[in-house]
């Protein structure tokens, strides 16, 4: 099929195809190839049917291998849906006052570049999936994962409110399998993506806390009951936003001993810093301004903002429009015995500020 082309064209085309496939095949959710659908599926309210998850698997945009995994594990479809919802809501919340507000317009282009925003999308997606899988394990919606009942009289710690350590371990393993993450890759971009995905998983792990309660004569600790509790996903989102704000730009370095390409820290005063820490988000390129419409975002025109705090930065110096709006709110609330709250409705006039167009 390459007979009509110059000799050099054929290998280039193969390389391009490989790159495209590797990108297209790798991810899911916010980092998946095609637009998201996170609304409840048509089967959401149907009684549980043995084959219902098969249809849900087909409806989602997944790779062939991902669909196979989805069909094999009945609870996975629901979990995937939940993780997409989690990551999208959290991303929009964390970036609500930023120029890039996690708009899905331009997401495809964004994912092809190595910006900080790309790093955040990868991390929040893997974190949400990790979180949702762990929850699904503990509530029994996933059949294959089990809590390891290893013996140990007083050191054994079981679970409460959703997560045992082993559930998180299982979900991490499954997650890497699902995302098709390979152990070793020489491609710089793949290394960066894998690193950022691990940052997301690690953020969920750091939120796993153990609490114990003592029981014994007069409150001594002869018997302890312990449990692990997963932090709310908002905490994880908050942590990842902090990681985003302190992300590190990296470049590639060829290890002279092994000949392999490795990540290295920012170049500063001709000194190369050591490789980034496992908890740091990494990126390759400086982000665009996101002020004007572009391939990556719709720009900030028309965005609501806060006059004193965010208009100046959000509007990129273009100024803002002022409008008046009537809003209703609850006021004079009282608790009625037993057991509801009664409120009156008040009208309030408030000013709304939006960024001017360029």
């Amino acid at each position: 099929m390459c007979t009509g082309l110059p000799r050099t064209a054929c290998p280039l085309r193969l390389i391009a195809l490989c790159i495209l496939l590797s990108h297209a095949a790798a991810y899911f959710g916010l980092t998946g190839r095609e637009p998201l659908v996170f609304l409840p599926g048509p089967f959401a309210n149907e009684p549980t049917n043995g084959k219902a998850h098969l249809k849900q698997c087909e409806q989602m945009t997944l790779t062939r291998r991902q669909k196979r995994l989805c069909r094999r594990e009945p609870g996975l479809a629901e979990t995937l849906r939940e993780s997409v919802r989690l990551s999208l809501l959290e991303c929009r919340y964390q970036f609500r006052n930023e120029r890039w507000n996690c708009s899905m317009d331009g997401r495809g282009s964004l994912l092809k570049r190595g910006f900080k925003e790309t790093a955040f999308l990868l991390a929040v997606s893997s974190a949400a999936l990790s979180h949702a899988l762990a929850k699904a394990c503990s509530s029994g919606r996933m059949e294959r994962c089990t809590c390891d009942d290893s013996p140990g009289l007083q050191h054994r710690e079981a679970w409460q409110w959703g997560v045992c350590g082993d559930n998180l371990k299982y979900s991490t393993k499954f997650l890497k399998k699902f995302l098709g993450q390979k152990r070793v890759s020489k491609d710089l971009r793949a290394q960066i993506d894998a690193h950022n995905i691990n940052v997301g998983i690690r953020a969920v792990k750091s939120g796993l806390k153990t609490t114990c309660k003592c029981h014994g004569v007069s409150g001594s600790c002869a018997v302890r009951t312990c449990w692990k509790q997963l932090s709310p996903f908002q905490d994880t989102g908050h942590l990842l936003k902090y990681r985003y704000d302190t992300a590190v730009r990296v470049h590639s370095v060829t290890n002279s001993a092994t000949g392999e390409t490795e990540l290295a820290g920012p170049r500063r005063h001709s000194i190369t810093l050591p490789r980034p820490r496992p908890t740091e988000l990494v990126f390759l390129e400086e982000s665009p301004s996101f002020c004007r419409p572009s391939r990556y975002s719709p720009g900030t025109a028309g965005r609501p903002c806060s006059k004193d705090t965010s208009c100046s930065s959000l509007c990129c110096g273009r100024g803002y429009n002022t409008a008046l709006r009537l809003t209703t709110l609850s006021c004079h609330c009282q608790v009625r015995w037993c057991c509801h709250v009664e409120c009156q409705t008040c009208l309030r006039e408030e000013e709304v500020y939006t960024c001017k167009k360029h």
């Binding site: 009289l153 007083q154 054994r156 004569v217 007069s218 600790c221 302890r224 449990w227 037993c338 709250v341």
Partner: protein
Amino acid sequence: MGSLSRQAFFQELGSGCLLPTVQQGLEQVWQLLLICLVCRLSWRLGLPNFLKHLSTVVGGFYTLYLFFELHMVWVVLLSLLCYLILFLCRHSSSRGPFLSITILIYLLLGELHMMDTTTWHKMRGSQMVVAMKAVSLAFDLDKGIVDKVPSPVEFMGYIYFVGTVIFGPWISFNSYMDAVESRKLSVSWFMKSVISCVKSQLCLLISNCVAPYLFPYFIPVFGNKLLRKWLQAYENSLSFHFSNYFVSFLGETTTTLAGAGFTEEKDNLKWDMTIAKPLYVEFPRSMVEVVTSWNLPMSRWLNTYVFRKALRYGSFTAIIMTYTASALLHGLSFHIGAVLLTLGFITYIEHVLRKRLSAILNACVLSKRCPSDCKHRHKKELWVYLINGTFSMLALLHLTYLGSDFRPQDGVASHTIQKWTQLSWTSHWLTFALWVFYRLIL
């Protein structure tokens, strides 16, 4: 947990709390229960007494090791020290006071010097039981209730009796010797063991899974900021109460299973050991009733070996000394000491006030329930019930206040002060007000 709907909450509660709590509760104690049962059965084999004592020592050692691992040496050291003192003072008539002082010094040294707080905190219960057993034996020897110093194997059998070595309760030496005679296995014995075990697991569940979420999930009361503080204090208090009941019923289980804890009247044997009376604490008549119902054997011990001996210095001093002894047995914890001392004042003032009111009004408003043949004129009038009801409400308030800051690990002094400040030192002020009222009606 406000973000969860009630339905979602109860679903999570089942899989996330009820099941693992029962699992852990049983997992940590099943070996103890098994050893108690084996000990009981082996005593029924007609062994000579020497071997019976020895078997419970072995069982006790193994159990201590199960729970405390190598830290059990501190409990062993304490018991060896006690026997040494008893032996050296075998011709003395003041073994009780002397042994008490020795044990006090040992516990203080242990608390302050010998090991880290967490480990000591863990064993505190067992140390307390050993100390109480040794002291009671010494005083009983002084009074001739026990006629001679027991042999080493008898003493160690008593101290390490597998039924009481971990979770208590204290039993007297004579009760232990009665148990060694080994009563017949019976349905009532078995049923008592099973029922106490079930009750203990039930209390553990309430402590872990119900009390911390009482409001608004179980009882839909929301409350404003002030009320919410008290509701949360009540939750903490209730959780601590039921943790105590768990241990108490577990102690009943192990003691009964091992063959002690019965009363015998003219060939009528009853397996009726009772350590705590939860209903009397949760729906109290008075703080005095709460205090005795919290741990009956300990209450009996304190009454016999501390309060009565201190009465010669006056009843107020006797009460304070009793609470001080109780605090010292619990170890050098500012928090427990503060709670117990406050409790001492509360109970004393309530007692004398109600006694005075009872005399003035000629009514049944004493701290303890009147027997049916008392000579008070007013017994069932509405205002009598109102007065008693008011004191019950006060007791509930005191319990909420005092129990509000028990934590899995004991905190520092400032935490207690901070918690009481949060609740505006309510119990302290109320107690002071009642004392003023009492002085006014003298």
